[in-house]
Amino acid sequence: MDDMKDIYLLIVLAPLLGSAIAGLFGKYIGRSGAHWVTIIGVATSTILSLIVFKDIVIDGAPVFNETIYTWMVVDGVRFEVGFLVDSLTAMMMVVVTFVSLMVHIYTIGYMHDDPGYQRFFSYISLFTFSMLMLVMANNFMQLFFGWEAVGLVSYLLIGFWYKKPTAIYANLKAFLVNRVGDFGFLLGIAAVLMYFNSLDYADVFAAAPLMQDMTMQVIPGQDWSLMAVIGILLFIGAMGKSAQVPLHVWLPDSMEGPTPISALIHAATMVTAGIFMVARMSPLYELSETALSVILVIGSITALFMGLLGIVQNDIKRVVAYSTLSQLGYMVVALGASAYAAGVFHLMTHAFFKALLFLAAGSVIIAMHHEQDMRNMGGLKKYMPITYWTMLIGSLALIGFPGFAGFFSKDAIIEAVHHSEIAGAGFAYFSVVVGVFITAFYSFRMFFLVFHGKERMDEHTRSHIHESPWVVTVPLIALAIPSIIIGAIYIGPMLFGDFFTGAIFVLPEHDVLGEIGQGYSGWGGFILHGMQGIAVYLALAGAGAAWYLYMKRPDIPTMFKEKLSIVYKVLDNKYGFDDFNEKFFAGGSRRLGGALWGVGDVKIIDGFVVNGTAKGVVWLAGVLRNLQSGFLYHYAFAMIIGLLLLIILFVMTIG
């Protein structure tokens, strides 16, 4: 076991070391030094993660749950750094390190001419470290550390081009919105600490069933189920990090960051932290149907309504961003339906194909000289064959084309919701089914607009279009492979086998996957079964509709836009979330701030307290400074006065 401990430590620390070297000594080691040192660090983690995965999942090594370092012990509560490595963790480790490695390699090409090259590599390695700390945590404190650390790196990277005002706006927005989520998350952790008196997962999970019927009074006279409160508070954190309505507003704007980041952080890994967290906390969530229902409803709203927004976007990255939102909604729906395994399974397949889509979009953006508007693209197929094919694979996986990775995970979620009996399941089923059509529609709208049809770019750009260098295409191909096959390979063990036994806990009455699993007969059978459902045809219809509307009859969308201008406006304004936030929260806080500033700050604090004390201090200092005059007899006098005062106070009072 001890050598395993060293391996886990190495997995976590190798990217941190790479990050520190690239960040602190970037000037000395140069650009290639920076990418070598970080890539070696992350590659080490990747290889070791694969070994761990083999050990835990394939060879069935026992679950590792040990404390590495005790930071402090306060009133019996231990603040520790420790690792819990089971099948869920091992899977996340492989996904995180593999996608991160691909993104590292890709970055060499994408950021080739950027002056912040070393800084960028330092950040993404730091991110890898933070994300690993998050998924490997065996206690809430470390979870929170990882949670905040990935948030910090995300903030730094969205604002990576810090001279661009939109990037600064976007990273501030991401930061503020995540603050809201983290506030809930922190309250959730506080509630856990308060009632369980421990931050250790194992302790909390073991004690949780005893607490099922416990209530707490937040508002006097109102009894709330403790588990529901904890579950919802923690989920608010997940809503921020995994961009669920209404805390989703930061994710589309986060596309201001460089594309590799969008792939790594805002598609494949960090935004799935919320999904991972809820799956990890399944022993708590299982105890509260209220919390599960909330999760289900929020997830289905996100899945459906965020997908709709993808249709009206013209920025290639924003289309992918909205599709990420919608897919995160799918994962959350799965969690709400107690199909944690399906959510995590979709998390994994999504990580591969969405990273692929982002990196392919990035490849297009490189070729177009950092032009991101799809209206200026078209007909790129013949210039960029590798990007074209990999993008096609990614899109097919995303829409759930039978056989591709996304098909298995998405169909499993739809089936699971269908079987769920929890409140809100009907609405959720409707959302995820309609969502399939929408997903296919906007995905292929983007695909056709970019690669087919007329070449709408200007002459100068067209003469320079060429396929991206190998550092870009190799990661594309490396991600395309799992996007095709990973679903078929892992659907059996992960959803219907004992892959997650011990890591994810589901009550028998919630076990929708078990129900589906009774009819399961291999991945081929699953495809056949899927072909009898409606979802596959909706996906094909969506893709077909996109082809018809944007390739065949491009006049129809224009007409729609004119005839249904209200609908278009609502979608174009993203349902007004941003305007509402801008006016109500931002404007309101500014006005509140203004009022507090005018009265509280200027008059009371500045006028009375600060300037008042400052004046007081100046006056006092003026008086006291006379004592500190430099004259010896003044000093001696002060001592005598002090002595006399002490005598008066202490000796005279005895008499």
């Binding site: 001696a636 002060a638 001592m639 002090g642 002595l643 002490l646 106070l649 202490f650 000796v651 005895i654």
Partner: protein
């Protein structure tokens, strides 16, 4: 009356330091200017040797010797070890500074060694007589050291002030001691302790106690007996300031414990209130005045005054845990103070004192590493986690709360927030302002290494404060 041979064994480190100090004094006479390094090396060897002697005989046992005037116990040994360490670092940091100013003479080291001897006697004192003996040996060395730079009128002036005020304070202390002697008929602290517990002569006792507390407050630099500190810190050569600001504070802590706890614990309820007043005044004056300073040495003097306030908070609890917290605070303070003045020495060069706050402007551009080291020191002094200073403050405040003086803990926190301002201002100057002076930092390798180790040590101890805390607790005997 039986004639017993005193138990010399317990005082071997003291005798060793005395012997070596005399040796250095004589050897130095025969050295040429160029071979002065021998003096330096001998002094350092003395510190190492003393440390070896003290640590090899370390035990929890309490041994009295020399007719009960001298005590060897765990607290004394630990404090002595840290005094050697401080003096070692002082000698190391001071060398390049002294060399650049033609002050690299034997006197600095001889006086330094005698000062260390004074501190050792003070730490091990178990009689009013030995307390006074150690105190004066230390103080006289310090007076002379401050005046070392004879041609500087600032140094001479501050030495003069220090001497006269010091004499006044000594007088008060002696007067208090004579009152105690009159009331108890003994100079022995153990004897006094027993007398105090049963005495009827409370008035005389408290009268004497006031004078003793004044003497202690002067030594620590607690308000209103602090006036000498800013002037002396600023006027003395930085190497000497470094010395005054570190080891003697450790000795002063020991002196407070010996007199107030070992001797006068029976009057705890009286001296507790006195220390409360001194502590609040020190935190207030130290932190507020420091804001108005533009000279770093002067600022650190006020910072020291504030730190002494926090130190007193630990002592005034009168509990073993409180003493341990105060001891932890003292040792932390000594390390931080060494680092702070060490940074001034690092940035100084012949004919230039880097003791204005402006000299730290833009340090990050000149040397990111030392800007980071200074950042550690400033954060630690301000009490920001996870640095050592944070734990020092936390442990003192915790002990205050344990003895139900939460209000005082809140006052202390408020003042430490005010104090954070001037520490963080330095960080701001280093990182956000443009450098006025872009010359390269050229110093000997040993200074670089020691100063980095000093600062990183504060970071490491901040992350793992456990062992040092445990050491303090076991030295005080509250495990």
């Amino acid at each position: 009356m039986p004639f017993a041979i005193p138990n010399y064994n317990v005082a071997i480190p003291e005798m060793f330091v005395l012997g070596m100090a005399c040796l250095v004094l004589i050897v130095d006479l025969f050295l040429t200017e160029r071979s002065r390094t021998v003096t330096y090396l001998l002094s350092q060897a003395t510190m190492v040797g003393a440390a070896v002697l003290t640590l090899t005989t370390y035990s929890q046992e309490v041994v009295l010797a020399f007719s009960g005037t001298f005590v060897r116990d765990a607290m004394g040994d630990v404090l002595k070890a840290f005094i050697y360490l401080s003096a070692f670092i002082v000698f190391l940091y001071a060398k390049p500074y002294l060399q650049a100013r033609k002050l690299f003479k034997g006197e600095f080291y001889v006086l330094g060694l005698f000062g260390v001897l004074g501190m050792m006697v003070l730490v091990s004192a178990h009689s009013l007589l030995t307390v006074y003996l150690g105190l004066e040996l230390l103080a006289l060395s310090l007076y002379a050291m401050v005046a070392l730079q004879r041609d500087s009128i600032f140094a001479s002036e501050s030495a003069m002030k220090y001497f006269i005020l010091g004499a006044l304070a000594s007088g008060m202390l002696l007067y208090g001691m004579s009152m105690l002697y009159g009331a108890t008929g003994s100079l022995d602290l153990g004897e006094i302790s027993r007398e105090v517990a049963t005495t009827k002569m409370e008035l005389v006792m408290v009268f004497g106690l006031v004078f003793i507390v004044v003497g202690l407050a002067f030594k620590l630099g607690a308000v209103p007996f602090h006036m000498w500190m800013p002037d002396v810190y600023q006027g003395a050569p930085t190497a000497v300031t470094l010395y005054i600001a570190s080891a003697p504070k450790i000795a002063a802590f020991a002196m407070v414990i010996r007199l107030l706890n070992d001797g006068l614990y029976g009057l705890h309820m009286h001296w507790q209130d006195m220390l409360v007043i001194l502590a609040i005044l020190s935190m207030a004056v130290g932190n507020i005045f420091a804001i108005a300073q533009f000279n770093l040495k002067r600022m650190l003097a006020y910072s020291t005054i504030a730190h002494m306030g926090y130190l007193l908070l630990g002592i005034l609890t009168g509990s073993g845990d409180g003493y341990a917290a105060a001891m932890f605070y003292t040792l932390s303070y000594a390390l931080m103070s060494l680092g702070g003045f060490g940074m001034i020495i690092l940035l100084s060069r012949a004919g230039f004192e880097a003791d204005r706050l402006d000299d730290f402007k833009g340090l990050n551009e000149r040397s990111p590493w030392y800007a980071f080291m200074m950042l550690i020191l400033m954060f630690s002094m301000a009490g920001v986690p996870p640095f050592l200073g944070f734990w020092a403050k936390v442990s003192v405040l915790r002990e205050l709360i344990h003895v139900d003086m939460t209000w005082l803990a809140i006052v202390a926190v408020v003042f430490s927030i005010i104090g954070a301002f001037y520490y963080l201002r330095i960080v701001k100057l280093m990182y956000f302002d443009k450098a006025e002076d872009n010359s390269e930092i050229k110093q000997d390798l040993d200074l670089h290494v020691a100063l980095s180790a000093n600062s990183l040590g504060i970071l490491v101890l901040g992350i793992m404060p456990g062992p040092l805390m445990a050491l303090c607790a076991s030295a005080i005997g509250v495990m």
